[in-house]
């Protein structure tokens, strides 16, 4: 059987149908082989270390093989593989404990608490955070900020994942994002203060 002629969807269907048999393994290996480069790229960018990336990529495919039966075809196979890869890489990055030493909190704006000013606009702190980011930052700054403070990824990892080419990589975007957020929050506070004073009169 010439596996080259099979589409990814056909390989998935056949590998699932023949799971547990040697032929099923052969089909699964062909399916995975077509995604080696994609997963290798992702793992390399996540870790910055080719040996660790190879070990992680192997784990990702082992998990994909173990759970192939549960893949229902409700999304593309590569999307399903992405969710496994993302979880594995995030776990590995977090477990390496390199985050805390590098995450910078200097000049990070403080979000208003869920009372006072926020009550005037009936908005939660979380929603305000998203609105501020959306209003103040450009697309790259939003991604860098979310990955750094939401996922606690290091600046080096973000630089690799997003393929940032500027000299200082993600750091430059964090610096400009903080500056813009500060300005935006000041404007927002001033607006809220005016609204509240207007309401009291």
């Amino acid at each position: 059987m010439d596996l080259e002629q099979f589409s990814v969807e056909e390989l998935v269907a056949q590998a699932r149908a023949l799971a547990g048999s040697q032929e099923g393994d052969r089909l699964a290996n062909e399916l995975f082989r077509r995604h080696y480069s994609q997963v290798a790229c992702w793992c390399l960018r996540s870790t910055g270390d080719r040996e660790l990336a190879a070990d992680l990529a192997q784990e990702i495919f082992v998990r994909a093989h173990q759970h192939l039966k549960s893949f229902q075809g409700q999304s593309k196979f590569s999307t399903w593989l992405y969710s496994i890869a993302r979880n594995q890489c995030m776990n590995a990055i977090k477990a390496r404990s390199i985050r805390a030493a590098e995450i910078s909190d200097e000049d990070l704006v403080e979000l208003p608490a869920d009372d006072g000013l926020l009550a005037a606009e009936r908005e939660s702190s979380g929603r305000l955070a998203h609105r501020l980011l959306d209003e103040a930052l450009d697309e790259t700054e939003k991604k860098v900020f979310t990955l750094h403070y939401g996922d606690e990824l290091t600046l080096a990892t973000i630089t690799r994942l997003l393929g940032l080419r500027n000299q200082s990589g993600a750091k430059a975007f964090i610096v400009s994002a903080k500056r813009k957020l500060n300005r935006c929050l000041q404007r927002w506070k001033a607006r809220q203060q005016t609204l509240m004073e207007g309401g009291e009169q």
Binding site: M1, D25, F32, R33, Y36, S37, Q38, V39, A40, C41, W42, C43, R45, D49, E51, L52, A54, D55, L56, A57, Q58, E59, V62, H65, Q66, Q74, S75, K76, S78, T79, Y82, S83, C89, N91, A95, R96, A101, D105, L108, V109, E110, L111, S125, G126, A129, H130, R131, L133, D134, E139, K143, F145, T146, L147, Y149, G150, E152, L161, L162, G163
Partner: protein, 260 residues
């Protein structure tokens, strides 16, 4: 790190966490492919427009789907892909219950299977034999299997002034280890050892009064050729307080190469 800074970081982390309204990876994928059902289009678009978390997830998904190695990544990605190909029998034969429950087929039986799977003409076989001979010659003169180095640099940063020196297993091994060994630490009452997968998910944990610990049979079964595992030992005092920790050590059973 200031406590104010810490508070602000926690605030932002909470604000940027996914909520129950956030889109799943499948929904994001359908959005990227223009395949969102009409009934869900409005919800998907309006959520995405206001959610920085989902916008970032979508961007990451696209990065993954379109991933092609950049010029500076080409060599490393090729090496990783070659490694995955070399280890493919570990991937395809790892059963869900136990990675070692199925026998890994020998090289001879796999070769027989390959040649039995498709009839080949004698010309094709001759050509294949020539290519194999050339490749083998090239491999024997130039290639070297990457040696697994016990990598302290990828392990956790040691913050304690006193460390435990792990002795074995480390790096590439000819056969599966039966025990873990380390140097005794003065003042230690007992030791806690954990064995982990490469993503640091814990496989097993054990305690020992001695500077060594036997691996139970069910743990040894999980140590299959080609699979990298990590381990770390912590020395504890009589109160169970950690007094020293080792680096995270890596090891694996090397895959036996047959001579040509």
């Amino acid at each position: 790190m200031t406590s104010d800074g810490d508070k602000q970081r926690r605030q932002w982390k909470a604000a940027l966490a996914a909520t129950e309204d956030c889109l799943t990876v499948e929904e994001l994928s359908r959005h990227a492919g223009g395949l969102v059902p009409d009934a869900a289009k409005s919800r998907t678009s309006s959520h995405l427009a206001g959610c920085v978390r989902c916008q970032t997830e979508l961007a990451m998904l696209k990065e993954f789907e379109l991933a092609t190695p950049r010029s500076e990544e080409l060599a490393a990605v090729s090496w990783i892909a070659a490694e995955l190909k070399r280890r493919s029998n570990q991937i395809g034969h790892a059963a869900p219950e136990s990675a070692s429950s199925r026998p890994i087929p020998s090289r001879v039986s796999r070769l027989r299977k390959i040649f039995a799977s498709r009839p080949l003409s004698s010309a094709a076989l001759s050509l294949a034999a020539m290519l194999v001979a050339i490749a083998a010659g090239f491999y024997l003169t130039t290639a070297k299997e990457p040696v697994l180095v016990s990598d302290g640099s990828t392990g956790q940063t040691l913050l304690r002034s006193q460390g435990v020196v792990a002795l074995a297993p480390k790096g590439d091994l000819a056969e599966g280890p039966t025990e873990l060994r380390w140097q005794p630490v003065p003042g230690a009452d007992h030791y806690s050892v954990k064995l982990m997968e490469v993503d640091r998910v814990e496989l097993w944990q054990g305690l020992s009064k001695e500077p060594k610990l036997m691996l139970p049979a069910e743990v040894r079964e999980k140590i299959v050729p080609g699979k990298t595992l990590l381990w770390q030992v912590t020395a504890l005092d009589v109160n169970g307080q950690a007094v020293a920790t080792s680096q995270v050590e890596r090891f694996r059973i090397a895959i036996a190469e047959t001579s040509h």
